[in-house]
């Protein structure tokens, strides 16, 4: 937290504090990284994971599985499709969820009902909606299309609540001042709420990206055209019966994982305490 007077007792306490923090974080990191090590290792060596005892070190690694992945499936095409669908999903999420969250910060009759409804809806698993969702998308004429793939992910309750928590923390005085200046509601959202909710925006961008990028079952159901397939659908190629493709399978998973991580790294700025809070929200 923030330091105050530079009293030596405080400084030592802080350093000790930091040591224990590091220890804790290192333990957590170890737990998180061990499975990754194996995923990476197998993607570089392709060894049979049923050999015992398991080899702890990399045995002549080579990047050819990654090359395999690129050529075994139309990787570039799938990547482009996934990107388009995800961009659609992200834009819709950022806009629609912000609007909905803003509306929910106000008091009106039926608000509680809407919130309960949204919460309950969130908990309907996709597997139970496959057939009706397909029929509805068909009626809308959106089968086999980018919009059709992205549409169910256009709004999520988690993102709405993340926004809402952030919007609720914006001081009323700022909003009142804006209204006095004659800003419309939409402008209030765009000029005040969103800029002060950078971390919420970042969170929602990351989450909506991941959900749409990794979405496997829905594109599988509504896409017939092989040129429209998204990246996760390429997964089945590595799980085919006939071949051993564990090395390539893991290489594929690593490649699919990278954009999400990249996005997260780019959004890191928004999570640094002190950058977004402070004078503006104080």
């Amino acid at each position: 937290m923030t330091a105050n007077a530079h009293r030596p007792r405080r400084a030592t306490a802080r350093r000790k504090h930091h040591w224990s923090l590091h220890a804790g974080l290192l333990a957590v990191s170890f737990f998180m990284l061990v499975p990754f090590y194996w995923v990476l290792k197998t993607s570089l060596t392709g060894e049979n994971i049923f050999v015992y005892p398991p080899k702890l070190l990399l045995n002549d690694p080579h990047p050819f599985y990654y090359v395999d992945v690129w050529y075994l499936i139309p990787f570039a095409r799938y990547l482009a499709n996934s990107a388009i669908v995800s961009v659609l999903a992200i834009v819709a999420n950022v806009v629609f969820n912000a609007m909905a969250a803003y509306a929910l910060t106000k008091h009106f009759r039926g608000r509680g009902l809407i919130i309960t409804l949204l919460l309950s809806c969130m908990m309907i698993p996709f597997q139970t909606t496959i057939v009706p969702a397909y029929l509805i998308t068909g009626k809308l004429g959106l089968l086999n299309s980018y919009l059709g793939m992205a549409l169910p992910t256009f709004s999520t309750i988690v993102c709405i609540f993340v926004y809402k928590a952030s919007f609720d923390a914006v001081p009323k005085s700022l909003i009142d001042a804006a209204r006095i200046d004659g800003l419309s509601e939409l402008q209030v959202i765009m000029k005040i709420m969103i800029p002060l909710s950078a971390s919420a925006v970042a969170t929602n961008v990351i989450l909506s990206f991941i959900w749409s990028w990794n979405n496997f079952m829905w594109p599988l159901i509504i896409v017939r055209d092989p040129d429209m397939q998204t990246l996760p659908l390429g997964l089945s190629r590595f799980l085919t019966y006939h071949e051993n493709t564990t090395g390539a399978l893991y290489a594929f998973c690593v490649m699919v994982l990278l954009p999400g991580i990249l996005l997260f790294l780019m959004a890191q700025r928004e999570f640094i305490q002190g950058l977004t809070s402070g004078a503006t929200k104080g």
Partner: protein, 321 residues
């Protein structure tokens, strides 16, 4: 009831933001505002209506039918529900799903600790944050496959380590054990979802104004006191959201269970969602699956309502002066 839900949600920082707007100008202004509110809600509501509500209604209708994929469909009333009562796999799945929910707090507490740690000024916090988050964007299929290997009785990593360190003599069958299959899956789930919880909590932490801490420091409050008096109460909405996500995961966590154990052995790790899928697509009993879906949904509504009853009523407001 509706009020307790709404007071639980917003960050109440003592400012009555969102409280009833002053009725200047009378009814017309308010009416215009109401229209606006509903317009803003519309896109999200449309998506939910199309892809959640309508499918739910479809399931409700189906649950009272004897559905034939290729032949005639007839109405059979509550037959499926009656069957469910006597279906021991259903009860096992329900119990397992509840266990799954009960494990959510573990992950959340861990994620909270991590979020607080990486939110501090410790060096390399960006690296730690990224490491924790790495697992979330990984395809669940990959998570399932790698953890299944780690748990393997003969060649898995866990048994290898435990035996090399001499902690156990005979290997442990994790996913082949009736008792340990579900907990093993839960651990893999925590591993994957930790990043998700963390990011939600981090976003929540950003909403807490810095000057509160500064003021508290000046007043001589220790770090622990600041944690319990400022951070946690103001983080309550995010913690609640994380819990909601945890509940949601237990009702929707299909891929992980399917890849790791397919609900086995002998249904000991069967969740409601995997049982629904099996009924719908492997056993060609879409109608029975629909009935289970309806029951699951009602259960969720009940849980959500109960959860709000418990967490609501407590004012989120915190004295900041």
């Amino acid at each position: 009831m509706q009020n307790t839900l709404t007071t639980a949600m917003p960050v109440a920082s003592g400012r009555a933001h969102g409280a009833a707007l002053p009725r200047r100008g009378g009814g017309l202004k308010r009416r215009r505002e109401l229209i606006l509110i509903w317009v803003f809600l519309l896109p999200s509501l449309v998506v939910f209506f199309l892809y959640r509500i309508l499918p739910l209604l479809w399931n409700v209708m189906l649950s009272f039918q004897d559905f034939s994929l290729f032949g005639k469909t007839g109405w059979i009333g509550i037959e499926h529900y009656r069957e469910m009562l006597g279906d021991e796999v259903f009860w096992t799945s329900l119990w397992n799903t509840l266990l799954y929910i009960a494990s959510a707090p573990v992950g959340i507490v861990l994620a909270l600790a991590i979020a607080l740690m990486v939110n501090s000024e410790v060096r390399g916090r960006n690296v730690y944050r990224t490491i924790v988050f790495l697992s979330y964007p990984l395809m669940t299929v990959a998570v399932g496959i790698i953890w299944r290997w780690m748990y393997d009785e003969k060649v898995g990593l866990f048994n290898y380590v435990l035996r090399t360190l001499g902690i156990i003599d005979t290997p442990l069958p994790f996913l082949q054990s009736f008792e340990w299959a579900l907990p093993s899956i839960l651990l893999a789930n925590v591993w994957q979802i930790l990043g998700f919880y963390m990011i939600i909590l981090l976003a929540g932490l950003q909403n807490i104004p810095q000057n509160l801490y500064e003021a508290a420091s000046i007043d001589g409050a220790s770090a622990t006191q600041q944690l319990f008096r400022i951070t946690l109460p103001l983080l309550r909405p995010s913690i609640f959201l994380a819990f909601v996500i945890g509940v949601m995961t237990s009702f929707t966590s299909f891929d992980l269970v399917y890849v790791m154990t397919q609900g086995g052995p002998a249904h000991s790790s069967e969740l409601l969602v995997t049982y629904i899928y099996k009924n719908a697509f492997e056993l060609s009993r879409v109608d029975y699956a629909a009935a289970i879906t309806v029951v699951q949904f009602l259960l969720l509504v009940a849980l959500t309502w109960a959860g709000n009853r418990i967490s609501g009523g407590e004012a989120g407001a915190v004295k900041t002066e």
